[in-house]
């Protein structure tokens, strides 16, 4: 990941059919529209089953994480590629 971060962000999301899908997020004063959710995965943190989303916005890739117990979203990383 080019930039690993762990910042609380505001996210607009669609909850439908028992699933959640991020539609946009506010990060550092700017609004980013989610063009595509490329992959979703889960992890467990105590009782919370965190839902992670890899999303594309404006040509960049962002990793968003939703904690359904605390109802909060975090931005975990930006641009998940780099050359070693």
């Amino acid at each position: 990941m080019a930039l690993e971060t762990n910042e609380r962000v505001t996210v607009g999301a669609v909850f439908s059919g028992g699933k959640v899908r991020p539609a946009w997020f506010l990060w550092r004063g700017r609004k980013y529209a989610v063009g595509e959710v490329t992959f979703a995965w889960e992890s467990k943190e105590g009782v919370a089953r965190l839902q992670h989303f890899s999303v594309v916005s404006g040509g960049n890739v962002y990793a968003l994480s939703y904690n359904p117990v605390e109802c909060v979203w975090d931005l975990k990383g930006v641009e998940q590629d780099w050359r070693g």
């Binding site: 890899s54 890739v61 780099w82």
Partner: protein
């Protein structure tokens, strides 16, 4: 009635998941590596494989083969989620699913054909479901048994579908090199070649008694393999034998001979083993310590105890009884702790106050860690170890005691 068995093998699984998650990686040579600086290549994308990059290579070796290769640090949570979803898709077509590894499974669809069509049609539907729902490709082999299904899935990669119908088995086996069969490695291939056996056809026609004389009990089995015969059943994960042991190991970020540092790792591993045992209601009476030296020499020592245990500190103290007297021959690369001799925890209340206190403390710690996450409450010496990245064990399964959360 001939059986219809599918073997499904995900293509370059970890690398493909990363390419699905990040469109910028698609079509590029990438390798998935561990977080440690001295990690090896876990999986290479097909684009990287075209340059000769292979699983097990070191990073410098991979860069030498493909200077512009992109390194991606693996995220086990993505792979276990994808695997669980894929195994769920298999379950729509048959309850007889044997999870062979995180990215491979056998399906017995013999009795599903009435509902979903031929084996080939079921394979096409599963491939389409996986592509649509998870975004990944796989190679599928369809055949009358597991041996041939696995063979068939290896014949077309990536994104292949190969059918070996019962009437074509002899023809396929006749010229097929024996080394292509699952279970016949380089050593066995050389031993067979010394007998003049190079193809499966030759193996199937070879004298059974001569094979028994040379290879013992597996001689007859080898002959049947050469004929393409395999009666082994597809064993669903929930029908697998009870777990025989629960263990964790870790490759250290750097080799060390420091016994204090190593004992901290052992405590961490013991805690993880204990947590998984308690979560699945197991107790065990044998603790095994595994050490791998920097030169990859590996040895294990076990100790059996009168009383079965499952709390991390008791496991650690048992492991330390094995570790403390050891005189390390050189620096250590990997340490492991496992507990075997498993029995189901009868939840008996101990007669001794000391034991009851310890059980109460462990239960309280489990409750906090269940609620707030692993190692939220732990031993002071482990606080700095919380962020250690685990490697997916080959034995990982989507359910049961073999499921490990990452």
């Amino acid at each position: 009635m001939s059986r219809v068995i599918l073997h499904i093998d995900m293509n370059a699984f970890f690398a493909s998941v990363e390419q699905v998650a990040n469109p910028k990686l698609r079509g590029k040579p990438i390798v998935v590596v561990g977080a440690s600086h001295r990690t090896v290549i876990t999986t290479a994308s097909y684009e990287a494989r075209a340059f000769g990059v292979k699983t097990g290579m070191t990073v410098p070796e991979a860069k030498k083969a493909c200077p512009h290769v992109i390194l991606v640090i693996g995220d086990n949570r993505k792979y276990t989620t994808a695997s669980t979803r894929i195994m769920g898709i298999f379950g729509r077509y048959t309850p007889l699913v044997e999870v062979f590894s995180i990215d491979e499974a056998f399906l017995d669809v013999t009795h599903s054909c009435l509902l979903f069509g031929t084996g080939e049609e079921i394979a096409r539907r599963i491939k389409a479901d996986i592509k649509r729902e998870v975004g990944l490709t796989c190679s599928v082999g369809v055949a009358p048994n597991k041996l041939l299904a696995k063979l068939a899935s290896d014949m077309q990669k990536p994104d292949g579908l190969t059918v070996i119908p019962p009437e074509r088995v002899s023809e396929v086996m006749e010229t097929l090199p024996a080394s292509e069969l699952c279970g016949i490695g380089p050593g066995l291939t050389a031993s067979l070649a010394a007998l003049g056996i190079k193809t499966c056809g030759q193996l199937g026609r070879f004298s059974a008694s001569a094979l028994r004389t040379r290879f013992g009990i597996i001689g007859e089995r080898l002959r049947l393999m050469g004929m393409g015969v395999d009666d082994s059943l597809v064993s669903p994960s929930d029908e697998e034998d009870e777990a025989k042991s629960v263990g964790h190991s870790m490759t250290l970020t750097r080799d060390t001979g420091d016994k204090d540092e190593l004992s901290a790792h052992l405590l961490h591993l013991s805690e993880k083993v204990g947590r998984r045992m308690r979560r699945n209601n197991y107790l065990g009476d044998t603790v095994t310590l595994t050490i791998r030296y920097a030169d990859f020499r590996t040895f294990s020592q076990s100790m059996r105890f009168k009383k079965p245990i499952n709390d991390g500190m008791a496991i650690f103290l048992s492991a330390m009884k094995l570790f403390t007297p050891l005189r390390l021959a050189m620096k250590v690369r990997l340490v492991g702790v496992s507990v075997s001799g498993l029995v189901c925890d009868p939840m008996q209340v101990s007669l001794f106050a000391e034991d009851r206190k310890r059980a109460a403390v462990t239960e309280a710690m489990d409750m906090v860690n269940d609620r707030y996450g692993e190692f939220t409450v732990t031993w002071g010496t482990l606080l700095s170890r919380y962020n250690h990245k685990d490697v997916i064990a080959p034995a990982w399964r989507p359910t049961g005691v073999k499921r490990v959360e990452y």
